[in-house]
Symmetry: C2
Subunit: 329 residues, 2 copies
Amino acid sequence: MPSIKDVAKHAGVSTTTVSRVMNDFPSISKSTRKKVLDSIRALDYHPDSIARSLSKKQSLIIGVIFPDCSYVFFSELIKYIEMTAQDNGYKILLCNSLDDREKELSYINMLKEKRVDGIIMGSHLINTEFYKSIDKPIITFDRCIDNKIPYIGSDNFTGGVLATQHLIDKGCKNLLHISGPLKLTSLANKRLDGFKLTCLENNIPYKIVEHPHANPSFDYFYGFIEKEVSKFLNLVDGVFCSNDMMAYALYVYCVNHNLTVPNDIKIIGYDYSQFTRILQNPKITTIAQPIQVLGELLCSNIIRLIEEDVSSKVYSQIVSVELIQGTTT
Amino acid sequence: MPSIKDVAKHAGVSTTTVSRVMNDFPSISKSTRKKVLDSIRALDYHPDSIARSLSKKQSLIIGVIFPDCSYVFFSELIKYIEMTAQDNGYKILLCNSLDDREKELSYINMLKEKRVDGIIMGSHLINTEFYKSIDKPIITFDRCIDNKIPYIGSDNFTGGVLATQHLIDKGCKNLLHISGPLKLTSLANKRLDGFKLTCLENNIPYKIVEHPHANPSFDYFYGFIEKEVSKFLNLVDGVFCSNDMMAYALYVYCVNHNLTVPNDIKIIGYDYSQFTRILQNPKITTIAQPIQVLGELLCSNIIRLIEEDVSSKVYSQIVSVELIQGTTT
DNA sequence: CTGAAAGCGCTTACAG
DNA sequence: CTGAAAGCGCTTACAG
């Protein structure tokens, strides 16, 4: 592989000049510029970005950590993050933490060594102190870790309100919310707040069941419903599930146990990711997170943090959600 | 951020020695080793892998190109690739080609500049010649580009045979296969070969419809069925779809048009990725590709190619598939 | 407008 | 068992 020296020799100039041509310095004369470009083409020269990274102290790489890139919601988010990165000259280094604290830690250390320019955190098991020890730009998805660390998320509170109000508007008198794990400092917990407030304001009795795992499978959800949720199903006529997979599992459970949806019981989910959009039966009524916008914001904001290098400014943003009417309410 | 020099100074040794400690050279005395380790800890030193890459001429990064990391099948494959990479000290740089030739090309050039150690290609629009110009280890998913470039894929031919024989065993007398785009040199086309052969051997009349897009959406599939497939549906009693999304779209179309599945028409798909596994109604009868094995092989084989540096040996592998009985046949 | 030289932070023959 | 020095392939003050 030819190096900048080979190009310099071939063109009869110094490596400095070659470097300047590649970096579009204005001071280069037309004729040398042409000579250099010709040599670059002749040798099929590709500058080594590792060497460039070392001298410029920037890698143009963004570390991206999510629990599991194969979960529908994350896989879409990652797609839009990657596309935005690509459009801005950055690349992403993908990490699956698998909701394992050790892995999450080792990934962060790895990203430090890889000298990524910034980190998008979608996985959040390690504690706040450790986060603060990361001395490079970082942005999180849906977690408010510290007021120094910006986050991007959907408007979970309003989502909770919308979902709950929708159930009430459809005539529900007794509501149930199945939340995600509340221990995590996830902004998703605000869905619960929105739910509670709306129930209270409308004088609707409610019940809350928390499921303990952050990113479980369909089978887990179904089992969870059998064990922890089924006993309440005769007492309520509307359920707000913290995500669509849970909503689908609940729907299937109801069908299997002769509860008619939406007549006996109305179900609303959260996310509206690919799975839900493809699913035809039922069309789950849900709160849509704007996945593309979220991915683009995560990436464009981490890039701003990297390039503007202002740790003082915080680029947290909350984007609005939308009710999608399906057939389950 | 402390550098190796800071550690050397702190420990009172040379940078050479620090480097040797970090790389576990045996010749280091216990006492210096301890001194160095202590200094590393005291300074919270993390070696800069960019500098290391530059001097060792290896980045420990694998470039991974797929059309779209949010498609269920790819997202799972990527997960297992990443996990295997992580287990072996490698990282992955993720690229979405979006089935765009220009993007694919520019990604490959980018990966050259990033000096990735190897490339896993799951996107295949550029031509063979260009592939051969890539002077680093490369492995493809499901494409046989050239006998110098190894590939990993499921046993598509046998999958086609299994699917077709299953339909015949279930009593089908007239079969239809909806294939993927045949222009691409995809090994997935062997599903068609298996289909044809099995029909001929069993004296079953058959029909083939090709859909032109590589990675379309549900809505595209549904529209395609309305336009190009529906006219044949009264003439056949069994359909082998080249993927599960197509099978689901066909199922939904049938339900919407008063064709009973599996009584009037039997449907079998291909993939058995996450979507299919979660979907409860119907349970699509399908040919399961072992996604985890495929991802692990893609990654472990590219690592072997990188580390053994033997461009002569080729690590192509085909893994076996399995029939999953659902409710659509 | 151009070049010589130092530097980015590591590794690695070479020497002792 | 340890170190001085060169080198990886770029960029960038500094000088002219």
